[in-house]
């Protein structure tokens, strides 16, 4: 089943998103071409991006990793780009990694960011120990040559036993999905809110593979969309014995971070949830859903902190998708999971969706944002009918959350809305 945002992406949103990626990259390539040949980072910028000149738009889109595009966004958004040595290094590093197979034999890149640093090539699955400067060269489809700090190394990428193997693992031999746990600034947003899990990646990879099979059984169309967009799964440590973190990043479309301890239907739910964040991020890259009101924040029934309107819309979109996924899962007999538990969770999320929708000031939505909210409203109405939820019934836990939020965020209670006739929030 497609979400409303997914349908919008199919109707032109993807095309606009991909155009935005290429436009930014090409603008950087133009700048790089004009950079001085004086041995500076700008020189490396010119030489490194020059290697991508021969690639067609389709090659760039197919080969590009989320990490490469994030570094494109990062450098594009910075001032005095030619002088941003570390950003340039990260862009060239992730670019060489992304397009290794598309580059001609002998193509190479010089990486130096002014400080000793580990180099990470996530797609090739290689980590090069801390170096001041390195030159990487493609010798063949599976041979990578590394000249680093005066010594030369040749890596056979087809051999799994080489010493610089990164903590990455393909989920299946035939699929594009990879589990990755390399906490590196070039691969993460700056405000990371989770700790990458350590240890053996195989159990997590197996669970993700199993979860994707379940999603396929439950909703084949949704699973196809997930396979198309999400190729990177990052396991996170649990924050406490009962707190599972998960998140997605605006500029890292195609990567999901989630608790390493999830399994079964809850892991499916987490994948579905994070996928829908990614979908909305891709749409928002070129489309506005909310109008500018930078200071305005609102109550979200899922969060302890006040949220921007865009953040609240993300919560509504993702949890609505989860509720629909729960409904589809309940209809499938061949998968065994805690059905009463999921039914209860679905009913709770429906109440939270109803309360969350109340917080949205309609005048602050663009027509596109309004259309998304309308679709969510229609889905919630359907769920309320199917689950026979009375509008005045609100779970104790949901009321308690609202009560605590009001107590801890007294400055924002003027934006707080509560269903008419429903029992008041209680502590």
């Amino acid at each position: 089943m497609k979400s409303i945002a997914g349908a919008m992406l199919d109707q032109g949103g993807w095309q606009a998103y991909e155009g935005r990626l290429l436009e930014r990259l090409w603008e950087l390539m133009d700048e790089a071409r004009d950079a001085p040949a004086d041995g500076s980072s700008a020189d490396a910028f010119r030489q490194g991006l020059g290697e991508l000149e021969g690639l067609e738009a389709s090659d760039l889109l197919v080969g590009g990793t989320p990490f490469f595009w994030m570094n494109v966004h990062r450098l594009y958004g910075s001032e005095r780009r030619g002088a941003q040595a570390q950003m340039i290094r990260d862009l060239l590093m992730t670019g060489f990694d992304a397009y290794f197979q598309a580059l001609p034999k002998g193509a190479g890149v010089t990486l130096s960011g002014g400080e000793r640093r580990t180099l990470i090539l996530p797609k090739l699955g290689v980590v090069i120990p801390a170096v001041l400067q390195a030159h990487l060269r493609r010798r063949s489809s599976h041979i990578l040559e590394v000249e680093a700090d005066g010594s030369r190394h040749t890596l056979d990428l087809s051999q799994h036993s080489h010493p610089w193997r990164a903590r990455t693992l393909k989920i299946s031999a035939e699929g594009a999905e990879t589990v990755m746990a390399v906490p590196d600034a070039a691969l993460m947003a700056s405000d990371v809110n989770g700790i990458f899990a350590e240890g053996d990646l195989r159990p997590f990879a197996q669970r993700v593979g199993q979860a994707l099979q379940w999603i396929q059984t439950i909703d084949g169309e949704l699973c196809a969309s997930i396979h198309k967009l999400i190729h990177w799964y990052v396991p996170l440590n649990m924050l406490s014995p009962s707190l599972h973190p998960s998140y997605s990043e605006r500029d890292l479309v195609g990567v999901v971070h989630m608790s390493e301890a999830y399994e079964g239907i809850r892991l499916c739910e987490s994948i579905v949830h994070e996928f829908h964040h990614n979908e909305l991020h891709a749409l928002q890259c070129t489309q506005e859903l909310t109008r500018n009101d930078p200071g305005a924040v609102f109550y979200s029934p899922w969060r302890p902190d006040p949220r921007t309107l865009s953040g609240l819309l993300h919560a509504l979109h993702t949890f609505c998708a989860v509720v629909k996924f729960h409904e589809a899962a309940e209809a499938v007999r061949e998968i065994d999971f805690d059905r009463p538990g999921i039914r209860q969770r679905r009913a709770k999320f429906c109440q939270m969706l109803r309360i969350g929708m109340l917080q949205v000031p309609a005048e602050n939505l663009t027509p596109l944002g309004s259309r998304i909210l309308q679709a969510i409203e229609a889905d919630v109405v359907h769920q309320e009918q199917v689950l026979e939820l009375g509008k005045g019934t609100i779970l104790e836990a949901v009321r308690a959350h609202a009560h605590t939020w009001r107590q801890t965020n007294p400055d924002y209670v003027q934006n707080f809305r509560w269903p008419e006739g429903a029992p008041a929030p209680v502590g």
Binding site: G12, A16, G19, L22, E27, E288, L368
Partner: protein, 97 residues
């Protein structure tokens, strides 16, 4: 008394074609169709010789922005920058990218 005469510059054919590719759907989804192709086409255009194309795109971007259609405004502004950026750098090569 001299009569003031208003003249409206005709749109360059490329700009007209780009405008024909602007899509604004009922639900508000707005974008330039074939955007990647347009970026590639304009990158091949010598900026000095076709400065009118890029200036007209910049003006249209401003008009779409004023009308509240930010996605299209942003795309047209980016297309305009392809040439205007090169025109603003006197020493940079003007030829196709």
């Amino acid at each position: 008394m001299e009569s003031a005469e208003k003249s409206e510059e005709a749109l360059a054919p490329q700009v007209r074609a780009i405008l024909d590719d602007v899509v604004i759907k009922e639900d508000g989804l707005a974008f330039v169709n074939n955007y990647v192709d347009w970026v590639m086409t304009l990158r091949k255009l010598p900026a000095k010789e076709h400065s009118r194309v890029f200036v007209q795109l910049a003006v249209l971007a401003r008009q779409f922005s004023a009308a509240g259609c930010k996605p299209v405004a942003s795309s047209l502004a980016s297309l305009a920058r392809i040439g205007l950026g090169r025109l603003a750098k006197p020493k940079a090569p003007d030829g196709p990218r």
